[in-house]
């Protein structure tokens, strides 16, 4: 009975412990949760640590441009019905953060891991996942990220021949193209409001035809696969055609889509949709997203939207006019330093809402709203914007670091 029952070699064990020590030091120094730095140290001591930590887990990977943190939470909640789950719930989604999260639990049976789009192929190789959920791909941080179709190609190459069951969104042509190199795909009709990154066939470059909810390339025949799961209004349709009601505390169509994909993943592990969907009700705010906070005796709902596709989905879930709206945009390196993407967002959808703009790049927002012929006020900070907002719950929409600034200000 020597080392065989223990999956961690002495070197790997040391790496886990060293990582934890560094994480604790980082937390004590007030530098955040410490999960990323801890993982980085551990991976340096043992580069195979991620693979070793994952080897006795049933791993699910979740990747997308939008919704991966929330979906990871939904799947983790659903799989909790089948056994203990470890997950990188804080959204640290690159190899170091993932390693750190997995090192935090030794008795889990399931690992549910959010993965940054750029790292999916590598993490899939290291963790030998049973299931991979692919939700959507769209333009994001173009000043530093790979081109969107290149990402799809990177997925396609990385997933070719994967033994994992791929749960993929049939309504996103880039996702379908990426997933269809794989032999075992479960297609989910999860919908996608944003279509402007897939007018050109990812396979042959032909112009995509998109009648209604369908899509196909007129030139090479690449087309929408027949889904076995679907989001239909407030229900998930399973492969037998049964409709299961979605009960979420999280708002919006996009989260219903995330629930549909999560139910399909849960079924891969034998958790029936009814059980999975009931458990998803427990998920409230995810890393502050959708949280309703009190600030200056007002209710604020915090909404994260990082790119045009995210803003489009967010506009569809906010309360109708005359609900006041505060918009905050930064362009620090974690956001992407080019603000041109604001012009791919249709701000005429905010007509009728009183709008205040804040953030490092509030003047970009001001010009954008001026050209969209919207009324708005430019404010110095959140405090002033809240004071300027007429009565009612305020919808606060912010991109990545602007969202972190908001959470800090409201003490969330």
């Amino acid at each position: 009975m020597s080392g065989n029952s223990d999956p961690l070699t002495p070197r790997a064990k040391l790496a886990v412990t060293a990582g934890k020590a560094v994480a604790a030091a980082s937390r004590a120094a007030g530098r955040g949760s410490g999960s990323v730095i801890g993982g980085r140290v551990a991976l340096k001591l043992d580069p195979d640590l991620l693979a070793r930590l994952a080897q006795n887990l049933d791993v699910t990977l979740v990747s997308a441009t939008n919704g991966k943190t929330t979906t990871t939470r939904l799947i983790a909640e659903a799989l909790g019905a089948a056994g203990p789950v470890v997950s990188n719930a804080l959204g640290a989604n690159m190899p170091a953060g993932i390693t750190s999260a997995l090192a935090g639990s030794s008795d889990a049976r399931y690992g549910v891991i959010e993965v940054d789009e750029k790292y999916l192929a590598g993490v899939a190789r290291d963790t030998d996942p049973k299931c991979i959920a692919l939700l959507n791909l769209s333009r994001d941080q173009l000043d530093r990220a790979a081109e969107t179709r290149m990402l799809a190609e990177n997925w396609r190459e990385g997933l070719a021949g994967s033994k994992a069951v791929i749960v993929a969104n049939a309504d996103d042509p880039l996702v379908v193209w990426a997933a269809s190199s794989s032999p075992n795909v479960i297609w989910v009709a999860a919908g996608q409001m944003w279509k402007d990154d897939a007018w050109s066939c990812p396979s042959c470059g032909g112009v995509m035809q998109r009648p209604g909810d369908d899509w196909f390339c007129g030139e090479c025949g690449f087309r929408r696969p027949t889904p076995s799961w679907a989001l239909s209004g407030d229900h998930v349709l399973d492969p037998h055609g049964s409709a299961w009601p979605i009960h979420l505390q999280l708002p919006g169509r996009a989260n219903k889509a995330n629930a549909a994909s999560s139910a399909a993943v849960a079924a891969v592990f034998g958790v029936p949709p009814q059980v999975a969907l009931e458990r998803m009700w427990r998920v409230q705010a995810v890393a502050g997203r959708y949280d309703i906070v009190q600030f200056q005796q007002r209710d604020l709902r915090l909404l994260l939207a990082k790119n045009p596709a995210g803003w489009l989905e967010t506009f569809s879930l906010i309360d109708p006019p005359p609900t006041p709206v505060i918009l905050s945009v930064n362009a620090r390196s974690a956001d992407g330093t080019d603000t041109s993407w604001l012009w791919d967002v249709d701000y005429t959808r905010l007509s009728g809402h009183p709008i205040c703009v804040i953030g490092d790049r509030k003047l970009d927002l001001a010009v954008r709203l001026e050209v969209a012929n919207q009324n708005f006020q430019v404010c110095e900070n959140l405090d002033q914007a809240v004071q300027m907002s007429p009565p009612g719950r305020i919808e606060v929409i912010a991109n990545y670091t602007a969202f972190q600034d908001l959470r800090r200000r409201v003490g969330n």
Binding site: L142, S200, V207, D338, L363, A366
Partner: protein
Amino acid sequence: MSDNQLRVVWIYPDLLSTYGDQGNVLVVERRARQRRLDVARLDVRSDQPIPTSGDIYLIGGGEDRPQRLAAERLRRDGGLHRAVENGAIVFSVCAGYQILGHEFINDLGQREPGLGLLDVVSVRGEGARCVGDVLADIDPRLGLPPLTGFENHQGVTHLGPTARPLAQVKLGNGNGTGDGTEGAYNDTVFGTYMHGPVLARNPLIADLLLKLALDVNALPPTDDHWYEALRNERITAAQQPA
């Protein structure tokens, strides 16, 4: 301009609308409407013919593969040449700018013929990708205030004898040729590497396009308060060390 209607053509949004350059169309439309012009915006997908009766044609930036597809389809179509012969204004950005030249390097690493509407040739830069805020002085002939924009390109564009540089960079790279030139123009055809989008950062360039299309020397004034505030902020930011 015919029928008292200004026709603004947005070329190939399915291929060349990846970097927010659609904003250029929105700014031209908005500033034309503020001058009480009747504006018709035509979005032309790459499986549709380019109309030859437009007044202002706008082309944006895109990724490498869509750029090649756009060049193939525009060459085959031929409509943009006829529009320019009819006196139309063309304003192009980044990948679109390269397409208007004689040739560029495509996603397969090969020399791809462009439309030859601008006397420029683009190659792939050997150095680091040019990314960041740019500040430049626009050709004094055009009588415009400094150019501010955001560049994000690997390409280097060399100007031939009949293309004039649109601007001289003070900060940033522009055409990437090392001589400080940025963009190019010839008559009514313009090209630039600037995003931002460039007409939102430089609304007087949008007005120049309108004046050329209307063949007038002046336009009624607009309230440019927020544009000015943004310009001042970005010009200051470009001058800060990164």
